[in-house]
Amino acid sequence: MYRLKIQQLTKSYGNGVKALDNVSLNISNGLFGLLGPNGAGKSTLMRTLATLQLPDSGQIFFDGLDIHQQPQMLRSRLGYLPQDFGVYPKISALALLDHLAVLKGLLHKKERQEQVLALLQQTNLYQVRKQAVSTFSGGMRQRFGIAQALLGSPQLIIADEPTAGLDPQERNRFLDLLSEIGEQVVVLLSTHIVEDVHDLCPEMAVLAGGRVIIQGKPAALTAALEGKVWRKTVSSASLQSYQSALQVISTRRTGGQIQVYVLADQCPDSGFEPFYPGLEAVYFSALKEGAIC
């Protein structure tokens, strides 16, 4: 049962950049990972989903309602964590969260206070709740962002680069939280960290140059590549020749030498060894193919 349907979304900016190019996606409950390099159009898609931007063409339906026709309906069920955000200066976390809770429609004072305190606990900000958010460190501020995104009872949670700036422990706590919530609601997780998607998301898509270049379950996508990725350690001098002769999906430097990963049905050359593809290989190969197309 798809709850979020994105149909042929196109958006270009004044300077001629096509940020979204005919993007269509169908998303059901659960975590959905959106991978893509910088400038792929992820944030544009997120902002459009959050009704902060209108597309040039295309439609988005959530639970059957066109979100740009009835933005209010969507917003009352939306939890949005933007990629980069600030806060009013000199206002404590508690006061600000309470204010945002009112804006989100938590009118009942007692319920609101309970949820605000619970979320502050959950994001480990309870001890600093009386401090101004503007004085928070990057990680603390990010956690505050998470807390405000979970206010009310969001049915669609959009998290744009949520783990940026979190230390590994915090990141784990957050991802746990998301997957727990994600059972009943749609969680859209935009990231360029492949591991995040790999660990959590039953469904994913890769966005590049404004287009969806690959979509599916991470496991199925890695399975499809099995036996097609080869690895060889080469010198930096010979890298050039490999890149021109073979379909190199990525390279990695280790100890002064370079490992080349190549996409090929058979062993492309002597010295190559088969490599069990992770999601990262899927991502890189998709980007490569996207670029070739």
Partner: protein
Amino acid sequence: MLSALLKFELQYHARQLSFKIAAVLFFALGVLFTYGSFGGAEVHKNSPYVITVTVGLLSLCCIFAATLFCANVVLRDTAYRMEAVLFTTAVKRRYYFTVRFLGLLGVTFVMLCCAALGIAVGAAREPGAIQLLSFCQPLLVFGLPNVLFSSSLLFCTAVLTRSARAIYVAGLLLYILYLIAAISGNSPMIATSVLKPGGPDALSVLTDPFGLSAFFGETRSWSNVQRNTRLFPLQGIFLLNRLLWTGFALALLAVCYRFFAFRIHLQPVKKAPATTQQKAVILSRYNVPVHTQGTAYSLSVFYSQLKQEVLFVCKHIPFMAMLLLWIFLYTVELKDSLTGPYGIHFYPVTGYLAEAMRTVRPALLLLIFYAAELLTREKAANMQALVYSTPAPDAVIWAAKCAMLAILVAILITANIGISVGLQLANGYHQPQWAVYASLYYYSGLPLFLFAILILVIQTLTPNKYLGMLLNLFVIALIIFSRRLGIAHYLLRYATVPDLLYAHMNGYGHYTDAFNWHMLYWCGFAIILALPALRLWQGGQQLTAGQRWRALFTQWPAKARIGLAVSITVWISCGIYIFYQTNIRGHYKSDNTQLRWQAAYERQYKPLAHLPQPVITSVSTTVALHPEAGSYTVTGSYRLQNISRAAISKIWVGVAASVSNIQITVPGALQQKANAAFHQYWFQLRTPLLPGDTLSLLFSLQTNRSGFTAFDSEHSVVRNGTYIELEKFVPFLGYNPGFEITDAYERQRHGLPAQQTTSAADTAYHLIDLETTISAPADQYVVTTGTLQGSWVSGQRRYFHYKTSAPVNFMFALSAAQYAVKEEKYKGVQLRICYTTGHEQNIAMMLQAMKNALDYCNRHFGPYTLPQLTLAEIPQYRGAATAYPGVIFSAERINFLASYRDTAQVNQAYAITVHETSHQWWANKLSPANGPGAALLTESLAKYTEAMVLEQHFGRKHVRAYLRADNNLYFGMRNTGEPELPLALTVDQPFVYYQKGGLALYAIRQALGEAALNTALQRLVCKHAWPGRRATPADLISELQQGATAAQRQVIEDNLQKVIVFALQLKMISCKPLPDGLYELQLRVRVNKTNAGISLPPNDNFDIGLFDGQQLTVQNYHFNKSTTVLTLTVKRRPQSVSIDPYGYVLEEDKTDNEVIP
């Protein structure tokens, strides 16, 4: 490297939208200034004077431009977080600092150059060639140093704080502080400043960072030729001033450079307490139901958002600083409003204080500032994605920001009320009228709030914050100065209403009604503005122009549609109602239409002025006042008599333009034609009116004086304190020269010849018998010319029957109010004071003044012939009092509500009453023939009588302060640009016939002696009172000269027929004790005498006064040289020696008249 960087910097500035708009605005201001009036029509628009005024005043406006550029460009690295990149490049600290500053200085100076260009374009239509030097000199002498001063201050603020808000605050503070300093320091830049003799002192010239006080102080006395040709010389103290402030700016920059850290500015971070790690628990409180519909939700959002805005504005130190500054400013302002001319102390009556602070224009600057701050607040904090992705409707958030501005307005008004109550308590006044204070929230708050909405709408529609602020400044200035730009109708001037004149008798009076309608009209308009603006508001959405445009026309919620429809209906219907009341019922004429009407009247009817018409010999009227409707009716009849030598067959009648519903009939005559536009009527008599024959004329008039008509203080019908100078609003015969345009420039513009001020040919008295019955609501008492015959109540109305006992001049003003009456019979005259209960403080003094003045005038000028003398209180609009035959109308504030407990000061209630009482002789008994110098025979003689009675009652010492005040006022007002006429020829120059007149007659009295002067005056009255011929200044002069010595004749001639002023100086050479216990004083006296600016050799007598600590001994000496050494032998060593100790000699600077041995 420096030049490359500077080039980049300037190009960066030039690319900014705010730069382009500001350049256009300054150019427009330059053009606009050439339409202003600077020193009269004779001063060319491209003269050095006008250019310097423009550059000087606009260099103040440059503070705003520099603020904008500074916040926009100088702080761009901080705003765009480029600092980390920039500070690690090879750019040196010195270059960075220099280039940024020069860039700012350069572009701000370019603004002034744009303004200068504007003048050149605007003045192209003027005579006089454009000279490059007259543009360059002011730009370099005033422009550059001023721009350097303000931009270095702002730049230093920017560099040291790196906060845009700090820059705004600094800019605003600089501007406001400068204005306060200018106002409180009595700078000549401020139009209402009192002129100090000899121009502003050196200290105030030196301490003015913009150098304007030097310029305005010096050029005040410049002639038109000087203004057209002379550049303001850069010399003396002014040069020092320029050097001082340029040096100050450079020193400031140096200090700032010393402290300027070329590093990233880090906020001190409070160390967060160590957080204890907690295991993530199952989200127990997830899935809380939300309610995002309905009123309760909207209200909660509104309240919560408003709370955020209040915290944002009020928990901010600059706001507190601004509020303190505000309180300081208005304390000074209000305190000043309690002091009147001649140092009168007014009682701090609530209403007058409220009136003084009703229009709080500086609040508009704060509103512009905070509107921009509030609207862009989420964006500035980068929080818009959080706030605007919530279901909270944009409109509610916008409304919260709007409400915050309302709170700001309320805070300012509350602060003003606090100041006002504080002033009242400090002055020992313990009856604040809280209702009047509360009404300020409506009368002052609502118009300000409407301005706030307009400001918010403009800011909403402008994509760039700074551009929005600039646009707002421009629009607000346009609205405030719309009248000067030719837009006068209140239907076209946003949230602007006629001045609400306060009177303690009447509150805001009948105007309140019109105010309510205008406010409703503008409220409707404000909503019409606000609703589409809301649709176009971006909030957090990033929409393209096309998407916004579509949003304007689609998706209007039903409530908004209904709201818009209701507002449009309210706006249009109020507009129609106001238009009907103002234009159709109220005969609205714009200033220009009024002038054209006057010009057309003169052109059409002046050629007929010679037609002989009968004169009015008796008037009988019935007047009904209807204060609740703001109207009155008059029905009545005239008896006309042909006093010419020829038969008259045509009667020509006219009525003032403000009268409506006119019916005029002449029994036995045919109305031949009428001109409705000019209210002119002609009647053809069936049988010509033969010389000496009489005829009657009947009329009925109805006049609407509601709050929608232009206020005329001589023609006001209000609930309590109606005052109508009725003789001006009843029919008149023939041509009325009072309708002619008097302003010379306007006459020229309308193609009329210059007005001739020749003496009238008709010097006969045309007295009338008057009988009138006036009715008013039953609680009112009516006063008018004549003796009260009876008064009765019928129905809801009370009637007053007045009749004159002897013929009087054609003067019959009336006043009606809820009067209390104090009566007393004094030497056969019924004295009556009609006043408002609660205004008793000065009544005893005024009654005393009436008695003293009657006694003095009876003894010296001839008997008072009327059986009564009434003094009636009327609201304070302007002036102090007016005299009618047997009646004095006396304004409440200056006479009844001022405190004269300080006996060292002249009691003006007493003085004014004496003055008006003496008008019973000098205007009523002895009427001058119309023509030049007529006011010498009324006002000057009344001033003289005033001085004499004061001297008699309070003593000579007391009068000295009074004469001195008149002397200062005369010198403060006489530089009008028009040539000053001598007293015998005076017209339209009140400082001549009031202030100089009193002093001149005092000087003549000193020369002739009081008895001789009064005898001459008595002869004048005897010869020229009715039925004699009306007097002229020549008659007065010939009476004065009768039996006068040559020296006395010269004094008379000097004072009345010349424009003589003196400069006297006294210096002590020595003071030696003589062997026989006496003292020998050697004094040097310098006398400088000029007639209309031309030096004359002195040949005058002056008093030398010796003060020994208790007694003043005065001796009169003759001086015929410009420097004289006097040797006096005195018995005791004097404490002080002075020339002109009584202070009646016209002299600008009296500080060098006294020496202390």
